[in-house]
């Protein structure tokens, strides 16, 4: 978990420290207000747009992002065949993340002496049943999805010829994780009590819930190791798109902020224009001393 957190922070930190880039938005930009978000219009459709107040719609953005994140709408619309395996995979991972949160919640309750167990009503029994439902769906969905993706990658030529050892490894690794968790549940931990006790142990630095009898199993141990490795591994691979997609959309695809005189954005641009490039082609006229701003304002020296 610590590796995961550090890797995520480093990745995100880097995005905030990169210089402001030239605009490269792609329409539809979903924070546009009204119908513009639907048909792909922009504020540049308005005459003298720089004199008007820009309208942004969080609702439009959410209306797009929620089905996109939860149901992979883009894949459904553009690559239906892939969706049938990609959706169970992603949905499985979401459910497993949800399971972890439910286990954590359960462990917190237990820390305060509230047992998480079957019963009638009460948040503790709700968490008990929800953990089982969400967890089982997650494990099955994740196993089916990873197996499906692996099979597609092995058989479809357009995927196979682009796949490296790492691509196959990622899927086998995730399949092992989902499969191992599923088998552990099936043979050792139908109630998720063992998993909850493990999370309780993490929360209390090694403590055991009151009344819980430790029942170590190979599968349980394997699942714990694989879970830790998967969590640490994901942010170091292209699978980090899980959270980096936010930056792809908000820092590039929908990044339509105009540069207005005297703005903070203009100050960042001026800073960039002060960089000293070293591009070697003669027409550039870069010598490592002249700035971007000076080069852009220079007159051409040569006609090749």
């Amino acid at each position: 978990m610590i590796v995961f957190v550090i890797a995520v922070i480093l990745r995100i930190y880097r995005q905030f420290t990169l210089p402001v880039h030239l605009r490269w938005e792609l329409y539809p930009v979903k924070h546009e207000a009204g119908k513009k978000a639907a048909y792909g219009g922009s504020y540049m459709e308005e005459s003298n747009w720089w004199e008007r107040k820009r309208k942004r719609s969080w609702i439009n953005e959410l209306r797009y992002m929620i089905p996109e994140i939860l149901f992979l709408r883009g894949v459904w619309e553009e690559n239906r065949r892939l969706w049938w395996v990609s959706f169970p995979f992603h949905f499985g991972l979401y459910m497993l993340m949800g399971t972890f949160l439910l286990l954590l919640l359960g462990a917190i309750l237990m820390r305060f002496g509230i047992p998480v167990s079957p019963g009638k009503g009460g948040i503790n029994s709700l968490i008990y049943y929800l953990t089982i439902i969400v967890g089982v769906i997650g494990m099955i969905s994740g196993s089916v999805g990873t197996a499906g993706l692996l099979s597609r990658r092995l058989t479809a030529p357009e995927l196979k010829h682009y796949s490296s050892f790492a691509d196959y490894f990622n899927l086998v690794f995730l399949f092992s994780f989902c499969g191992s968790a599923l088998l552990t549940w099936l043979f050792h931990d139908l109630s998720f009590d063992g998993a909850r006790a493990h999370v309780y142990g993490l929360l209390t630095f090694g403590g055991l819930p009151r009344g819980y009898i430790l029942d170590r199993s190979f599968l349980g141990g394997l699942t714990i190791v694989l879970t830790s490795l998967v969590v640490a591994y994901i942010p170091m691979t292209h699978m980090s798109h899980m959270f980096m997609k936010y930056f792809i959309y908000h820092f590039v695809r929908w990044e339509d902020e105009p540069n207005l005189r005297g703005s903070g954005l203009e100050a960042s641009i001026l800073q960039n224009l002060g960089f000293r490039p070293t591009w070697a082609a003669s027409h550039i006229g870069a010598d490592g001393k002249k700035t971007w701003g000076e080069i852009a304002s220079s007159k051409p020296k040569e006609l090749k």
């Binding site: 010829h161 695809r253 540069n259 224009l273 070697a280 852009a296």
Partner: protein, 530 residues
Amino acid sequence: MNKHISPSGISKPAKRLSQIEPGDLPPLPPPYEDFNNRTLSELKEEKIANIEASLDDTVAIGIPKPKNNEEEEKYLQAFLSGLQKLFEKENNWTFLQPLLLSMEHCAKCQTCSEACPVFEMSGRQEIYRPAFRSEVLRRIYRKYIKPYGKITSKFSGDIDLNWTTISRLAELAYRCTLCRRCASVCPIGVDNALIAHEVRKLFSQEMGIAPRELHEKGTVQHLKIGSTTGMNPMAAKDSIDFIREEMEEITGTKVEVPWDKEGAEILLLHNAGEVLSWPENVGAFAIVFQAAGISWTLSSEELGYDVVNYGLWYDDVQLAKVAVRHAEIAKKLKVKKIIIGECGHAHKALIVIADRVLTGDLNIPRESALVLLDEIVRGGKLKLDPSKNDFPVTLHDPCNIVRAMGIVEPQRRILRKIAPKFREMTPHGVDNYCCGGGSGFAIMSNYNFAEWRTLISSRKKFLQILEAFRDEPLEVPKYVCAPCSNCKGSIRDVLEYYHARERSHIYYGGLVELIVNAMTDIKKAMIKFD
């Protein structure tokens, strides 16, 4: 020919890595079936003996082959040096963040392929998949630039770096029109067109390698002489004066074309290609602006009469130099805003991309002519009779104006008002297909490249045009409205190649010409179907 070439296959020697065979290309409907077995004309051996021509059936750049091992090594080192610079903020602050995000997060799901008109219309040639060239660059980057790359590449995808690899990659960067349809369908948001753009930049900015039409005849000539057409200021003024006289014949009244009018509200910047190839477009703007009582001017300064900016397609530094000159001209004339004529890439270059190059008093407001025309038409300043445009009209959406800028509705509002037989293409708006001439292809014609464009990259647009007019009798004249010079160029070429004017009576032109054609008080028709 092996259709399934893996990205590492790019480094393997072969006379041609990929070749189109008769019958590979998607069929055209009647009356164009006789073109269905066409392939590209064979490249003449004597013309390609000393240049890189081993990628496919065409050549866009024509990079001279290295004469010896030493020269090859020099090329490779320069390539790696340029690649390194793409990932440095001092050299590539302009696109570093978008590039990193696209390099690091591709899931190689190939959703992008189905959206790419070049891939589809080539008969699905593997090398034209949007992800192919990106994966080549990604593998080179990981192996030769990232730490421990030689080891990690065994797991993340290997590739050999040699002259064949880099020269083919350079050519391959010019088999993508940068239309960005692939990016718009990517579930993650990865932009393969951006990667193609960055590869072009690497070759130009570090190695001085770019198609002649874009560089020597393009930005260099533009900055030196004033226009990529080779027109100097005097020639531009003479040509437009001639156009003005032609317009007076059409309107039956005096047409004023103001030059270098200090303090005018608007500086109108045209693509100079319009002056030479579609003078009626330039004239129509003068007629509409005069009728609407707009305070405007043209500039006769070098670059001031040619708004193109080819740097957009291959070189950020050239882009910045041209954009700064355009802004300096507007500043000198003390205009309130710059209006970009019907030129798609110039819209994006000067309004959107240069937005983060121009600062202080160079940051003069810039707007699309389509928006201004919409305002004029809606404002009722012109007397319009839509029945004068009583012929089928369809609209081509230039990628740079629509998908890259979100200017979708103004042109449609105009057409709904002045063209009673207007119909959309399928798909349209932000989902449109490129004309096939995007990213400089419309002006590139060395070797057999124009033929490649017409047969492959423009094929989808041609099919869309035919589909839009499917229910119309062949003999009825039809009009493809393309409010962009380069799009008009490639549509002109594709219509000519397939004899579409003779066979289906399909004509093409801009938007402002349709407006003038609908004006009640002009004497002669602006649009003529010969």
